[in-house]
Amino acid sequence: MADELLMGAYICKGCGIGDRLDCGRLETTATRDGKAKFAKSHDFLCSAEGVAMIQADIDAGETNHLIIGACSRRAKVEAFNFQNVTLSRANLREGVIWVRPDTDDARETTQEMADDYIRMACAESKFMKLPKGSGEQPLNKNILVVGGGITGMTAAIEASKAGYPAFIIEKSGQLGGVMAQLNKRVATKSPYAEPEDTTVDALIAAVEADSKITVHLNATVTKTSGAPGRFSVDISTESGATTNLSIGAIVQASGMKQYDANQLTEFAYDKSDNVVTQLELEAMAKAANGGPIKRKDGKEVNSVVFVQCAGQRSDKEGHLPYCSGFCCTASIKQAMYFKDQNPGVDTVIMYDDLRTPGAGGEDFYRSGQKKGVIFTKSSVSTIDASGADLTINFHDKILNEDQSMSADLVVLATGQVPNSGPDPYAVPMELEDDASAEDKQAAADAHEVAIGVDSILNLDYRQGTDLPHLKHGFTDSHFICFPYETRRTGIYSAGPVRRPMDSMQASVDATGAAMKAILEIESAAKGAAAHPRSGDLSFPSFRIEGCTQCKRCTVECPFGAINEDAKGYPQYNESRCRRCGTCMGACPVRVISFENYSVDSIGQQIKNVDIPEEFDEKPRILVLACENDAYPALDMAAQNKLEYSAFARIVPVRCLGSVNTIWLTDALNSGYDGVILMGCQKGDDYQCHFVKGSEMAHYRMSKIADTLKTLNLEEERVATYEVAITDVERTAQLINDMAETVEKIGMSPFKF
């Protein structure tokens, strides 16, 4: 593509735009104010013919920067999809005519709205370059799998089957993980009636037979540096030997450990050998090898009680607040161990809610009942181990009475604890400039405490050594729509480290994680972004001469994508970057930019809006809206023909986190009367697709007050909101509210 800037503006007259707006004038605006090389109108721009017209201009070398004044950037995407040119869209339909009444009084302000959007699109176009990707990393198909349990092995096998070599790093001396300790697994196939083989041996055999899979036993990851497509990973064995691997993407399958039953003193786990955990029972069942299961003292077990939710689903100190999900079916399976060997053994499962979901779960529950396993809805208060046998004291919730029964053995369903590394954000690392040395020290200490656990990945990242946690130590992800999106690009957790799960789910999860690893490998090689801006070739670069090494960008990046070099300058890692622009928003000296999204590409749009004289009584309200949620909501408000103020000028942003305060100060200085920021919900149930972007923006805006004071402007002129994609009426309302506010407090004095 020619470097010369050739801006061509195309105005669509369809969908009523032609009837409502003076398109001739829009063309003039584009060429005169917007400095477009030419401007054309068309009755039906998205038609085959209209598109052909544009393509012809491109082919003829007439233009390489397109400005399309038509519908919303979210509409007709396929039609306006041109290669090797930049595209700016002026939203004349959803953004102008659909939100304004078709009246004579409204006509003038509506036209002004449209003119501004054309100016803005031209300004954006002028400051946009065509992104090409950095080519920072090659195609590296190697996948590192941390953990050699059923999850890790499955991930490796599935990746290998698709042609991607896998390297399994297993801490212990053999593969198999927790599953290898199991006697049998819960039924995974119809009719879901009998315990099944764990398949661990088969998996190990498959791994060993697979030429594309390399296994490192007794090994840990001692250093991970680089980025997707070019990870450099040090593997160290107990012997001290270190291997370096060049890796494309990583699957963390570090699994789970058993909850420490010693904390359950009320259940006498610490007092009696006859109170065991589920995992310990598996060992006993294996030892019995089909024969009667014996207690440690050699006595054959003739009666066994299973205590569900032991130390789980409880807010008691040291207990697990969550449900481990797998224990109900696991206990049913274990009761079957006894029943299948000798139907005469009494097996009682004491549960509160029996959680055997799905098709298989309920069948397996019924199968347990058929075999004579007894289910008692109850809460176990204590277990008395003073006698030869155990006495279980419980409250029968159905008969509503306290009872006690004796048993040879008690099995505690104690659940899973994820094997996560330390949470980088256990203590917030963002420290204000003005934080005292003591505060910083305190925070640092607290951080040390919080990260007492061993690291799994030893990431050589500015923001900590491991995957961030979401809750209860499970690794973070937007776990409904995009469950694999951790906050470290190219590193995907799978299995019980991500959420409590059984082995069947873990296998599915492992396959999914392998898919994501492969996808990231392919994207990185193209220099394309991963979710949610998948395919985006733009990446952040910075002017080193301007940089003050303030570290804001390296600290605030939600994905820990940016490192610091020895001098404290940021080191960008394209393939770790999600292209949200939070770094750009963070930079006080505005040296960070993307080819097609920069301080200028937005700033100039703001500057190019026509600001009428104060006495014209035509205020200007700047709306910076998240492109994924707030902007669609505004589109839908337009579809529903909701009206909002003709004085609003809406600029979609990748994420509110990318909003640099300079845009606001510039806007206010140049006479805007109000500014609205619309981002996504933040906090635990964050909806921000860049996790922290919206939160950062709110944090920064909380500081804007000072700026306003220095300009002695009213605080109400700037408002920041959490807006959901469903806030269709609300978004329009927020704009109108600001218009009212401005009317109340008067026009900005800064109009020149």
Binding site: D346, R366, Q369, I374, F375, D396, I398, L399
Partner: protein, 207 residues
């Protein structure tokens, strides 16, 4: 009979569920209950049950032998089959209730003077005499079930009914002289006797 009861106590020790599975009609199903309570809520006589079926199943699992077998609850069953129709686990609850009632009676620990127990017993005896039910005799025996005086009261209270039925030719006074009957009484009796022997053997045969 109650020595059979003792035999059973000794035989099954504390495992009442096993006893029920072995000796009670359809008792095998008890373990399949998931305590949803739909049966309890569906019973037209519900309010009169000390323990609704689902609770009885839980009591069986909890080994509450005496409480269950001597309960009046099962005798409240009207055989309307609502419970069976609605049970999500297809338990034949009606039959289990009949079975428990019968088993309690067989062991001699069913509640004394339970009216339905008596009626049920009379009904059986009545049909055993001729192989068919003689409604008049059944009626009369029932009126005197609680003794002569009460019987007269009952009879008087019901006389209107008897009269109405008589007028409607639906109560035949001639029945008192024998009335309907199967021809092959002996065959029928022999058959029932045999059936009873087999059942006895099955239950005490478990000894």
């Amino acid at each position: 009979m109650s020595n059979l009861n003792n035999q059973m106590v000794n035989k099954y020790r504390n495992d009442f569920l096993k006893e029920v599975e072995a000796n009670v009609e359809e008792g095998d199903w008890v373990k399949m209950c998931m305590q949803c309570g739909v049966c309890a809520g569906s019973c037209p006589m519900g309010p009169y049950w000390d323990h609704p079926p689902q609770e009885i199943f839980m009591m069986i699992r909890a080994g509450k032998r005496e409480e269950v077998l001597s309960s009046t609850s099962m005798w409240m069953c009207t055989s309307c089959y609502n419970c069976i129709a609605r049970c999500p686990r297809e338990l034949p609850i009606t039959h289990i209730m009949h079975g428990l009632a019968h088993y309690g009676k067989r062991l001699g620990i069913a509640p004394k003077n339970q009216p339905t127990l008596k009626f049920s017993q009379k009904f059986w005896e009545n049909l055993m005499t001729n192989g068919r039910v003689n409604e008049l005799k059944l009626g009369i025996t029932l009126y005197f079930i609680d003794g002569f005086v009460q019987g007269i009261k009952n009879a008087l209270a019901a006389s209107g009914i008897g009269l109405g039925m008589f007028k409607a030719k639906r109560l035949d006074p001639m029945e008192i002289l024998g009335g309907h009957s199967v021809k092959d009484k002996s065959g029928l009796k022999a058959m029932i006797k045999k059936a009873q022997e087999i059942e006895e053997a099955r239950i005490s045969g478990n000894q």
